[in-house]
């Protein structure tokens, strides 16, 4: 066997599996045996490189955030039975409406139960339970959009219709924040944390306004 013949079949050789002819050639040819030795050394060293690099923590953080946003991570307290993919696997599909009714009923019970608990918390921090209870109701009422905000949203919609819903949702959220913070300050005027919450809440609303005005403009 010549060197050229040996090197032609080299790509097909796996590990130490050589024919007798190839072994004979390697015994006699230092160049080819040197080549084999080098290639094996490269391969052996390369094996040590497997999985030796570690990504930074931000990679998992970003993945987790994305999974949550896409609804792929489900809160264990969330009604997993309502998951479409699970129910598709479930043979007894007729139980779905029953399950939804049961979960809705449980949620209703939870809300009813939380009202007195909120009252209890209010008693710890305030003289009267009424403000917190009022806040619980007020969150629903007062986080509604006022006339100025409606005008702002209409401005957004006139320039960038697709953005309106997002801005409305953000305004409701920050308004709820402001209401909770205002209530907290009213009840505890000397509480620095309550004051900080209020400042933060206003800062959030200012940001939403600013971005709505700036971004909605062409």
């Amino acid at each position: 066997m010549t060197c050229e013949e040996f090197r032609r079949v080299l790509p097909e050789l796996e590990g130490d599996q050589h024919t007798v002819e190839q072994d004979e050639h390697l015994k006699d040819c230092s160049s080819c045996s040197g080549l084999i030795s080098d290639l094996r050394a490269i391969s052996a060293e390369a094996r040590l490189l497997a999985g030796d690099q570690e990504p930074s923590p931000r990679v998992w953080n970003a993945i987790a955030i994305a999974l949550r946003q896409e609804g792929l991570i489900r809160d264990p307290q969330a009604p997993a039975l309502l998951s479409g993919s699970r129910l598709r696997d479930w043979r007894f599909g007729w139980l779905r409406p029953v399950t939804i009714a049961l979960v809705a009923g449980a949620a209703l019970l939870l809300v009813v139960e939380r009202v007195p608990r909120r009252t209890q918390v209010a008693q710890q921090v305030a003289t009267s339970s009424a403000p917190i209870l009022k806040t619980a109701v007020g969150i629903t009422q007062d986080s509604a959009i006022n006339a100025d905000e409606l005008q702002l949203l209409n401005l957004v919609a006139s320039r960038a219709p697709a953005l309106r819903a997002g801005y409305e949702s953000d305004l409701r959220a920050v308004n709820a924040y402001i209401r909770d913070a205002e209530t907290s300050v009213r009840e505890n005027p000397n509480d620095a944390i309550a004051q900080q919450y209020l400042m933060n809440a206003y800062e959030q609303r200012a940001m939403v306004y600013e971005m709505a005005i700036n971004r909605a403009l062409p």
């Binding site: 790509p11 097909e12 999985g51 990504p55 994305a66």
Partner: protein, 200 residues
């Protein structure tokens, strides 16, 4: 309680983690990520030679995997499935960057084109003297097609039939690419060693 839950997550087997991930369990996703992150990231890093890009590709590969995890039925090994996604993500990235990602078939050089090596010439052996940093550098200097097959076979330990399936080439082509990659690395390492020897 959180620590107990965390250690419980550590003890999750891959099969358990897959099933729980299908139900949306965050710890299961994290367990699968921890099990495979280093291999995926190392592959992406060596293919792109850029930590930021490699992290992005790692993130993308895992996200694609987790989005489709509901369809995984165990026909192939989970890690193979994941690596296939990572390879696809890397290849797409290379295409986007405009790198000449010609068909792997095309990178087969003819006898006339491949670097001439005179059989019978004396060779100084590399065995026992390969510097890991130089090897990393040499891998970085390989053309993308060679590099991919070399990483998957010699670094990650995949067989040629698995590589052929992942990359979309024939088994013969995979073997040929691997051989050429090793030959090229040998050449680069010897050049590097020779250059070092001539330094004052």
């Amino acid at each position: 309680m959180t620590d107990a839950r965390k250690s419980q997550g550590d003890k999750l087997s891959e099969a358990e983690a897959i099933e729980r991930a299908k139900q949306g369990d965050e710890e299961a996703f994290e367990a699968l990520y921890r099990l495979h992150k280093r291999r995926v990231y190392s592959l992406c890093l060596r293919m792109t030679a850029n930590t930021a890009t490699a992290e992005d590709l790692t993130q993308e590969a895992f996200l694609q995997l987790f989005r489709k995890i509901g369809t995984f039925r165990g026909e192939s090994a989970f890690s193979t499935w994941l690596h296939r996604m990572a390879v696809n993500v890397v290849l797409m990235q290379l295409r986007k960057k405009g790198l000449p990602l010609i068909s792997l078939e095309e990178t087969m050089e003819t006898e006339e084109e491949s670097p001439k090596k005179e059989p019978g010439a004396e060779d100084v052996r590399l065995a026992g003297s390969i510097n890991r940093i130089q090897l990393e550098q040499a891998i970085g200097d390989l053309p993308p097609g060679y590099r991919m097959v070399f990483l998957l076979h010699d670094v990650e330990g995949y067989e040629h039939n698995e590589i052929a399936e992942m990359v979309g080439c024939s088994i013969g082509n995979s073997k040929s690419q691997l051989h050429k990659a090793r030959m090229k690395l040998r050449e680069l390492l010897k050049t590097s060693r020779a250059a070092k020897a001539t330094q004052p």
